[in-house]
């Protein structure tokens, strides 16, 4: 009875608050990350050599450094240069840039899988290079990148828990505080875990719906 009361009066409101913060971290990071990933992916394949090197460098850097370290740099490092970010802003920045680096890899792979003939046909109709990429290549590549990109978004939901390391108190942060006060680690972290599972499950359902919506007869089978 005491447990139930504690859960009801302390745990539930705190975790709900944390859940809200997590959602507000994840949604913009996922969208911005995806946008960065598409742009950088395109630059890595179609950019001139200077742009290509810069984009490769970005992807290498942000995939190669642990995300916690990146967050520390944004939050604790930037004030050194007189740039002060709130914990929330630093987290979204860190997540977006890291996620974008991963997405760019999926997009790059998808772009490279588009058959040369598609480009020849577009060029022969008088498409400019940018027009061809936007109207012909990307609509196909995005469909092919979707499974990988979805995977990255699921990851993002889970690594959003790192935000509490730079004092952005989201779901995991709230859980940590509750658990330290009450020593009910098992109950609280099981609940927190279930919340993440709920988020990833909903995300997986949404992603499957999107994939289904964008499905084109025979398009997947034409991978050669």
């Amino acid at each position: 009875m005491e447990t139930l009361l504690y859960m009801q009066t302390d745990v539930f409101p705190a975790l709900l608050r944390g859940f809200g913060v997590s959602i507000r971290l994840i949604v913009p990071s996922a969208l911005v990350g995806l946008a960065i990933g598409i742009i950088v992916g395109v630059l890595r394949v179609y950019g001139n050599s200077f742009v290509k090197i810069a984009a490769d460098l970005y992807a290498g850097l942000f995939r190669g450094i642990p995300l916690v370290i990146q967050l520390f740099i944004w939050y604790f490092g930037l004030p050194y240069f007189k740039i002060f970010l709130s914990p929330f802003a630093a987290s979204v920045l860190g997540f977006s840039l890291c996620s974008g680096a991963y997405h760019s890899e999926y997009v790059r792979g998808a772009l490279l899988s588009i058959k040369r003939g598609q480009m020849l046909a577009a060029e022969s109709l008088g498409f400019s290079k940018i027009g061809m990429i936007v109207s012909i290549i990307l609509p196909q590549a995005v469909r092919r990148a979707l499974p990988g990109a979805g995977n990255e978004i699921i990851y993002l939901i889970k690594y959003s828990s790192l935000a509490y390391m730079i004092t952005c108190i989201e779901l995991t942060g709230e859980g940590k505080i509750l658990a330290s006060n009450s020593f009910r680690f098992t109950e609280i972290f099981l609940t927190v875990g279930a919340c993440y599972l709920l988020m990833t499950s909903v995300a997986a359902i949404i992603l499957a719906k999107v994939e289904n919506h964008l499905k084109i007869p025979g398009f997947e089978q034409q991978r050669t």
């Binding site: 058959k115 598609q118 020849l120 046909a121 109709l125 008088g126 007869p217 025979g218």
Partner: protein, 251 residues
Amino acid sequence: MTSPILRIENLSKKYGQREVLKGVSLEVEKGDLKILIGPSGAGKSTFLHCINFLVKPDEGHVWLDNEEIHPARKRELYAYRQKVGMIFQDFNLFDHLTAFENVRIGLVKVKGIGKDAAGARAAQELERVGLKEHMQKYPSQLSGGQKQRVSIARALAMDPEVMLLDEPTSALDPELIGEVHAVIRDLGKSGMTMIMATHQIGFASSLASEIIFMEDGRILEQGTPSKIFNDPDNSRTREFCSKITDLYGER
């Protein structure tokens, strides 16, 4: 004599050490149907790709309507390519678009025509190639012959002055070749200027204004169909034509 609609001078292309085109020149009058024949690897396909700069020639010049094309000037190049339709051996329909959208997209995105007007034009072109009832199908739901007809409609929608056809029927089942030939024949009758590479000698000789025999990156001989098929000057031409006539018959 009228000036040629398309003039090609001295096109050359090397891949590494291999010379694929060794200075090919050609003049095409309005309404001409030039047929390129020759063994595989003769450079027919490279020649066609070089004409609209899908493959950048190392040397050579191209004039359309007496205006030289400078492929480095992107805007000019894109405008030129709209006037030169290209049909590929393996169709190259846009896989993510329906037949209708395949034909419409160039009008909308390249020519900047409104979606409704472009759609009406696309439907008209698809009807012209006999595919009205297949408009909403995706490439994977069409037969090879239907795909090639969509690609012809797609090229025609851009109102080209010249069409380049790179072995348009060689990836097709024999029974599907006829429907594509019928479309090309109608095009010829309507006065379209065309350069076509093909192995279909019978079809070629019944339509062509001139047959061009290519081998090893060069034009070895060119002349009227009856001249090339019955009385060629070059022994290689004779040898090739007799072989290919045996294969594709119907002459």
